[in-house]
Subunit: 416 residues, 2 copies
């Protein structure tokens, strides 16, 4: 391979992540390095915790990022809580429900798996019935599964978990900062998210939060590293119930994120600058306004897709507002369409996984990518590419329908 | 806490990491986002693998980063190889030897621990004797332990491991790109490093490499996720010997880093740009030239420290070239000195861990931080702060001694 300069072509990214990043975030990341125990840096760590609490709508003390991608956060939460043989109920409605299963099994959980057809979500009553039957220590569930573009209502499940003394752990990677995730109000004990979707920061961090019910379990399993522990601390280490990962040990991580600043890893400096800036931007926009913006562009996109004569995948009443799944018309090669969109127009949309690969396209409207210009350019290019692939669509109508949606809200207070 | 803008004051960072980052790396990181399966991005992934092989002096096919800090890489390597009850020999000469123990134990290893006094390293013969006695599946050892500033010779241990059919896994976080790490020549089976030291990229990635001896073990333990596996693939999954972490499962990660691009996590886009650029800079400078630069500035620093009348910690013949440990003179509060250096001069040096806290200062000369200006400014400020703390030192001599070192090489070919 010939050595050359880093080459990053311009892209419009309309996938379920990673999505485009606000220039302010990239500028923040280009600041010089600070030492991990420099008071100027620990100040930024504390600021980030505070911003994160507001974005996650929680009063939990613990709210900090794991230095890794979204699934690192999921594994940190699950492996810190799950002990060998613990009953874990996993209601799954897409690929990322399987991922919860995969991770929970590797933590030694006794997994109780329930699933519904891809394209649907659970009636909360079904899940509650199962909670009462299984009486799991933990219920782990995805909030928005991008693989099927579905959103699972959680409020009733949260109440049932509290009533039955189960811990509710939610993968909200695809929803936080794009649609409501009311951590405290819905009685969710642990929430994990990722930076590369609606938070609109580069991939590589997994912010999470957990309450005192989860902290209690974690503290019972706490151990301090030999290299930095005193003799008395070593004596208190609970090696029998020790968390199976060092990197993902939330009992050690929370010491690092506390005034004790007990050394664990070296916090990812530039990514933390970016996360802090991304969270600030979210709160400057305001959560309600941000959710309204996501709904508006989703509406415009959906109107455009339908006006072209294409149909959406899955039940409308459980649609994830941040991902729109489009059925690939018969006879059309979905991957060829995606490639042409990328190669000729610099626009990226996604395919899906497993049984849905080749059946649906997935178009994201997340974070900074979720803006009028992107929606209109994508619809126009999508039409041109479909025509080039001899798809039978209503020519000229997609972009017009989206423009009409924008026109209809011009006098409203939604900034687009 | 009052909301305000991100504030990053200027710093000269002379710790064993995180260290300063070349502006070119930060500029690379400020490029816009690419999708993880965009051919422009997978091209960058492949470039990074190629650059990494050259920096790690290996012909191994597998050379890629883990998305997490250094210890994420260590845990990924150990948990992918270690199975319940495996004998793991850990010769430890500082804090990071304990960390290897900590991680190996959590993977279920039968750990055989040997240690030497902090400030020394092992005579390779001692380790080889133990290898022959224990006959471990794995020998895990630190190359340069920053906690004590010591460098362990590895070549003889590598040969012994191969002879005795043990796998040699080396934590080279503190040494790669600062001093020689000859992966292939020394017969090291697996090497882990981190970005925030001599590679001089922000913290948050752990590049690693491993050979076919390690790959064989990993492949025997391979399983593919339910959400993306075909029925046949699921049937082949070896759940009994399954790797205990999903995020750190190298058998899945290598599929993601292969042309198959089997989805695992979402690669950390901006960090990868930074790593690619940082590795390019290393190879542009040239490994030999880079090591010579590290030795030169170490020499200047050491000359300055000694001329001030201070003494170095540990045996000189095992000194880690990238970290200089200075004994704190009696009656001096080491933390107060460090604070004043940071607060008044914006210069950071480090303390140490466990038994060495309050006993030594640690001054790093790593990567972009390893430059003449930094060494001279640090010595000057260090003298002023020590005087302010009533330390008895030889006034005015530290900086002069360092200048003399630089003067003596002015005609040589070392760019400083």
């Amino acid at each position: 391979m010939e050595r050359r300069q880093l080459h990053v072509p311009p892209r419009t990214i309309m996938t379920p992540g990673p999505v485009e990043v606000e220039p302010r975030v990239l500028q923040a990341m280009s600041n010089s390095i600070l030492g991990q125990f420099d008071p100027s840096f620990t100040f930024i760590m504390n600021e980030t915790m505070e911003l994160l609490r507001d974005v996650l709508e929680t009063k939990n003390h613990w709210a900090y990022p794991i230095d890794g991608t979204s699934r690192a956060g999921i594994e940190a939460m699950l492996c810190s809580v799950i002990e060998e043989g613990d009953k874990v109920l996993i209601p799954s409605f897409g690929r990322f429900g399987y991922l919860l299963t995969e991770i929970a099994e590797r933590c030694g959980a006794d997994v109780h798996f329930m699933s519904c057809a891809w394209g649907e979500v659970f009636d909360p009553e079904e899940v509650i019935k199962e909670i009462k039957k299984v009486r799991p220590k933990i219920v782990a569930i995805v909030h928005g599964d991008t693989s099927t573009g579905r959103l699972q209502p959680l409020k009733e499940i949260g109440f049932a978990c509290r009533e039955n003394d189960s811990l509710l752990i939610v993968d909200a990677v695809a929803t936080v900062a794009g649609t409501e995730v009311k951590t405290d109000e819905w009685l969710i004990d642990g929430v994990i998210t990722g930076t590369q979707k609606c938070i609109s920061v580069p991939s590589g961090m997994a912010p999470l939060t957990y309450n005192d019910r989860i902290e209690k379990v974690i503290l019972e399993r706490k151990s301090i590293e030999k290299g930095i522990a005193s003799k008395e601390q070593l004596g208190r280490n609970n090696t029998r119930r020790r968390i199976q990962s060092n990197y993902f040990d939330l009992s050690q991580l929370q010491d690092y994120w506390s005034p004790a600043r007990l050394n664990h890893h070296t916090e990812a400096t530039s990514m933390l600058y970016g996360l802090r800036e991304g969270l600030s931007i979210i709160l400057e926009e305001g959560l309600e306004q941000r959710f309204a913006r996501h709904r508006l562009h989703e509406n415009a996109l959906v109107a455009g897709i339908k006006a072209m004569g294409l149909s959406l995948f899955g039940r409308a009443d459980s649609k994830l507002p941040t991902v729109t799944c489009v059925n690939i018309p018969e006879g059309i090669n979905g991957d060829a369409v995606r490639s042409m969109l990328l190669d000729e127009f610099g626009i990226e949309i996604a395919s899906s996984f497993g049984p849905l690969h080749g059946k649906i396209w997935r178009i994201g409207t997340m974070g900074y990518s979720c803006q009028k210009r992107n929606v209109l350019l994508t619809l126009g290019a999508f039409e041109a590419v479909l025509l080039r692939h001899n798809a039978r669509i209503h020519v000229g109508e997609g972009v017009q329908a989206a423009l009409n949606v924008y026109k209809s809200v011009e006098k409203e207070e939604i900034s687009i």
